[in-house]
């Protein structure tokens, strides 16, 4: 009844919303209503998917469909969701809801809301795509709306910020495009047969009408007693046999097939040097721009400060997660051996992000810049977790994505509230707001605690898991230890900010006139805050989705590395 066509909802609904927002005349709340409705629809769809995933009890892709589009090149409309994607889609819808509720563009309302919807088409498409070409297309689709959103509705220096964002992202994407093209033509034109991990087959297989096994629409082969390949029977695999299994892979752009080719990529040589580390580096550059990881993070503080509040929320809440998602979906599965070899390097890159971001945040006097640098710092934990290539580390990175999405959105929304009241964002320009805006202060304190990683709130789980993963892998152990000290930094700057802004005496008497949170702001903040607490005390809720995916990826990495 529910098949993979439901996934198109995530793309069709925002497109419809964009068209509607454009053609309807600009009434005071018409466009906002459309945006909020679309986001609620997407929320409902993602919750439905989550329920489906839970009830299906499947470790792999819950829904998946593949329709060949340009078979000459092997390009197919291949979309699917597993636990990771569902979590990301839910976060995307939630962030869209919060951003739509507080959106207040000054002028050109129709264009603003259309562009936001188009942005989310790109975001959702990237989370759904399982074909490299469509992944790339949706990745790039986000460029133009984001450029305009910052360049038109942003702050004083918005144009430079928008250009920086555009060029950094596009440069990274070019690296991804080049790597993609080169990899595609490394597959022999007639296709090849690769060995496949039995555990993966057990998790992800589909059974045909006569009991034959398919993995990602490819027939699974095993050698019979004479050594000839025959299609393996599902019953045989399910019973846990350890016969070597193979799949025939054609030359195409399919991400899952490329993942199966990981042993092939690992051994490939071009011009005398190994392909896998270079390709991994290219993909890492492309995704590191988005994460954003040191040293490609320079666009973020600028973009965050200049973007309007709602767009900052979108940027920090979901756009940064695309980088981590790319690492988890594309880079690490394709080149596990190279990733393991470089674990130490990647871990230290993450650690530098954590520490650098933390120290930079300590020195900021602009609230938005402070939160921007704290974003860099928190996303460093994601990189650390992924670098460790263990199931705890990867699960931690994914969890941190969600929890940072919540905490960053909270913080940016709150900074937006304060800016709306005071028309400035100087940390020193506030004091004693707890006496003036109690609800605001409560949520501010909560958000700061989430960001600092207080146990019992969502931020703790992700960071702990990443650090644990870093410890488990001997190569990343030292880096993990240094990163752990970075937790102190985040607590430091967040608590200090809270003290300066919320507590103490009221330094500026005119601020006594500030109104507390209104309904719209409350509507945006409440679900985020509630979810942060919920995930803090019941991480299993999210872990149920992320755990199997991380375990599977870690297993895949270990298996390919073991083949060497």
């Amino acid at each position: 009844m529910i098949d993979a066509s439901i996934l198109s909802v995530f793309l069709v609904l925002p497109v419809l919303g964009a068209v509607l927002a454009w053609i309807l005349p600009a009434r005071p709340n018409a466009q906002k209503t459309i945006s909020v409705t679309v986001s609620l629809g997407l929320l409902a769809a993602s919750v439905l998917l989550a329920i489906l995933a839970v009830s299906a009890q499947k470790a792999g892709f819950v829904l998946r469909e593949r329709i060949p589009v340009l078979s000459d090149w092997g390009i197919a409309w291949h979309v699917g969701v597993d636990g990771l994607s569902i979590a990301m889609l839910f976060l995307s819808a939630l962030v869209q809801f919060c951003a739509s509720v507080v959106a207040a563009p000054n002028g050109r309302v129709r264009a603003y809301h259309s562009l936001v919807q188009l942005l989310f088409v790109g975001v959702n498409g990237t989370f759904l795509a399982l074909d490299m070409v469509f992944f790339y297309v949706f990745w790039e689709v986000m460029l133009i709306p984001m450029f305009f959103l910052i360049a038109i509705w942003g702050g004083d220096d918005r144009k430079r910020a928008a250009v920086k964002f555009f060029l950094y992202t596009m440069g990274g994407s070019m690296a991804m495009l080049l790597a993609m093209l080169v990899l595609h033509f490394q597959i022999p034109e007639t296709g090849m047969t690769v060995a496949v991990r039995n555990a993966e087959v057990r998790e992800q297989m589909t059974v045909g009408s006569q009991g034959e096994t398919y993995l990602y629409d490819l027939p699974v082969l095993a050698s019979d007693s004479l050594g000839k390949p025959v299609v393996a029977a599902a019953s045989d695999i399910a019973s846990g046999s350890n016969r070597p299994l193979f799949v025939p892979v054609e030359r195409n752009f399919d991400l899952l097939h490329w993942k199966l080719l990981a042993p092939y990529w690992a051994d490939l040589q071009i011009l005398g040097f190994a392909l896998a580390p270079v390709a991994l580096a290219f993909f890492f550059v492309a995704f590191a721009v988005k994460v954003p990881s040191f040293p490609l993070h320079l666009w973020l503080p600028h973009a965050h400060v200049q973007a309007p509040t709602a767009i900052s929320v979108v940027l920090a809440g979901i756009l940064l997660k695309l980088g981590v998602y790319g690492l988890l979906r594309v880079a690490w599965p394709l080149f596990p051996a190279a990733a393991l070899d470089g674990a130490n390097l990647f871990a230290w890159i993450g650690v530098i992000s954590i520490v650098w971001g933390g120290f930079a945040a300590l020195g900021q006097s602009d609230l938005k810049r402070l939160v921007a640098y704290s974003s860099i710092s928190h996303m460093g934990f994601c990189v650390l977790g992924i670098a460790s290539a263990t199931s705890q580390g990867i699960a931690g990175a994914a969890f941190q994505c969600v929890s940072h999405g919540l905490s960053a959105s909270l913080l940016f929304l709150l900074v937006g509230v304060v800016y709306d009241r005071a028309h400035h964002r100087r940390v020193d320009g506030f004091g004693g707001l707890a006496q003036i805006m109690p609800k605001f202060s409560a949520i501010f304190l909560l958000s700061a605690m989430v960001g600092a990683g207080l146990p019992g709130l969502a931020g703790f789980v992700g960071e702990l898991s990443s650090l644990l993963g870093a410890w488990v892998n001997p190569a990343t152990r030292v880096a993990g230890l240094v990163a752990a000290s970075g937790v102190i930094l985040s607590a430091a700057y967040l608590l200090w900010t809270v003290k300066r802004v919320i507590y103490g005496t009221v330094k500026h008497p005119e601020q006594r006139a500030f109104s507390d949170l209104n309904t719209a702001e409350m509507a945006a903040l409440a679900p985020l805050a509630a979810l942060s607490i919920l995930l803090g005390v019941w991480p299993g809720l999210l872990q149920a989705a992320l755990g199997p995916v991380s375990a599977s990826l870690a297993g895949h990495i270990a298996w390919v590395a073991g083949l060497r």
Binding site: L70, A162, V163, M170, L178, V182, F185, E189
Partner: protein, 503 residues
């Protein structure tokens, strides 16, 4: 009616049967000349409309007669093949769009010369059609000259303005040298090979061997490089586009390039057997790839420092031409030809659209200087948005048409480099193309930023805030934008290209 057409067809000499669209267009040019002489100054607009109408009629005829293309005798002087048909349609579509855009164009509308301008547009289109279906070296030269002479006239059109007539003069002087060099090369090629037919030349030279025919080939190649504005023969295009009326610049930057690429493609493919004898595929591929890479990089980097929008677009045309030339370094496979075809379509829509948008913006801003374009966002939001879409398509951002074209070309070059053993140079060219795209995007963003700034820095007395473009002149711009978007989404069109324009 049918019997008349039948009789006419029977009387027409066999070769001319396939050139009916060109004949129709030539006749309408002559009729338009007569019309222009007889009409008084106030009704000159009728000539523009007549020209547009005849371009549409020729387009319909070309499409209808397209079914019989395969039967054309490949040995005759002008024989349209699918590639030629593609150029015909592109040239005529471009002509119609530009003629529509003349309404309201700052430097053309309302002037006494607009009739002649329209006639010249038709002449350029005719020259493009002739060039693309030429099989014979003299026919090639004829088409090239027809195209060039009409372009010179079109470029030098604002004769009352010193800066503008300088554009035309520079174009004709440098173009004349290029044509002369081409002719010198043609004369030697003919003397060495004994025939003017391009394919036979390839066969004769390949059996004869010998490297000495390379020199005239280079001479002919440099003339093509001039027409396509490839480095180091690209220096004329910024000055010419800056000087001539913007709508005409849009036409001149697209249609002659399309025809030039088609002719170059035909010539190179015909001479392929000879090349294989002269040098190894790797050497030739490396040469072409290096040549293309230089064009890409120089165009992209220089575009970023330009202070005038039209000069910026001129350098970006050089980069785009370089990327298309890169496709040739894949030893001109069928997929490469299809890729170039798709890229040319995307380029036509996007570049023409960008110039048409600038035309509208220029009317209020007074000039296309980046500093003068400020505030255009408030005056003409539609034109600025269209400019943005066209420019992003040129940069190759999905899901616009430019991405589809780039994808087709770059994929084929990577494949050829890896599988056909054509060496690393094409791959280096791909890297340069990607880098060039980012550099070009930076230049385009500079252009877009300028239009969003609030007040023009240069207060030109020609600024006209209250002017609104006629809806009719916005239609071609809208169509270009639509094409850019639809071509990008309707990517399966590429399969059509591959099956029809190939080999």
């Amino acid at each position: 009616m049918n019997s008349v057409a039948l009789t006419l067809l029977q009387w027409t000499p066999h070769e001319l049967r396939f050139l009916l669209p060109e004949i129709l267009l030539a006749t309408s040019i002559l009729l338009a000349c007569v019309l222009d002489w007889t009409l008084d100054v106030r009704s000159k607009r009728m000539v523009v409309w007549f020209a547009a109408f005849s371009a549409v009629a020729t387009l319909v005829l070309a499409v209808v007669a397209g079914g019989s293309i395969g039967q054309a005798d490949p040995a005759s002087m002008f024989s349209p093949d699918p590639l030629g048909q593609f150029v015909r349609i592109a040239a005529l579509v471009g002509a119609v769009l530009v003629l529509l855009a003349f309404n309201g164009s700052r430097s053309i509308d309302g002037r006494a010369e607009q009739g002649e301008n329209a006639i010249l547009v038709l002449s350029v289109a005719l020259g493009a059609m002739l060039l693309a279906s030429a099989n014979h070296l003299i026919a090639l030269y004829l088409g090239l000259e027809f195209l060039s002479l009409s372009s010179y006239g079109l470029a030098g059109f604002r004769a009352h303005n010193a800066k503008a007539s300088e554009a035309g003069l520079k174009y004709v002087l440098y173009g004349g040298v290029a044509s002369a060099i081409a002719l010198f090369g043609i004369s030697h090629l003919w003397g060495m090979a004994g025939t003017f037919d391009v394919r036979e030349i390839g066969v004769v030279l390949s059996s004869r061997g010998g490297v000495d025919a390379l020199i005239p080939m280079f001479l002919l190649g440099s003339a093509f490089a001039y027409k396509l504005a490839l480095v180091p023969f690209h220096f004329w295009s910024p000055d010419v586009y800056q000087g001539c009326p913007t709508a005409s610049a849009g036409f001149l930057s697209t249609v002659p390039k399309i025809a030039g690429f088609a002719a170059l493609l035909k010539t190179l493919m015909a001479l392929l057997p000879w090349w294989g004898v002269v040098a190894s595929p790797v050497a030739i591929s490396t040469f072409l790839a290096l040549f293309a890479t230089v064009s890409i990089l120089v165009g992209a980097v220089t575009a970023g420092v330009q202070k005038d929008a039209k000069r910026l677009l001129a350098f970006s045309s050089t980069t785009n031409a370089g990327i298309m030339l890169l496709a040739f370094s894949s030893w001109i496979t069928r997929d490469a030809v299809a890729g170039v075809g798709l890229y040319l379509m995307a380029y036509l829509a996007a570049n023409l659209g960008a110039f048409l948008a600038l035309d509208i913006l220029e009317r209020s801003a007074g000039s296309t200087n980046l500093a003068a374009l400020g505030g255009s966002w408030k005056r003409h939001p539609f034109a600025v948005v269209s400019l943005a879409v066209c420019v992003f398509s040129l940069a190759g951002i999905p899901p616009l048409a430019g991405f589809a074209g780039k994808w087709a070309v770059l994929t084929e070059v990577v494949r050829a480099s890896m599988e056909d053993g054509l060496g690393l140079a094409p791959l280096a060219g791909v890297v340069a193309a990607l880098f060039g795209s980012v550099a070009l995007a930076a230049a385009y963003l500079k252009l877009l930023r300028a239009t969003v700034v609030d007040d023009p820095a240069i207060a030109d007395s020609a600024t006209d805030d209250s002017w609104k473009p006629a809806h009719l002149s916005e239609i071609p711009l809208f169509l270009c934008v639509l094409a850019s978007i639809l071509l990008g989404l309707g990517w399966p069109l590429l399969s059509v290209f591959r099956s029809r324009i190939g080999g």
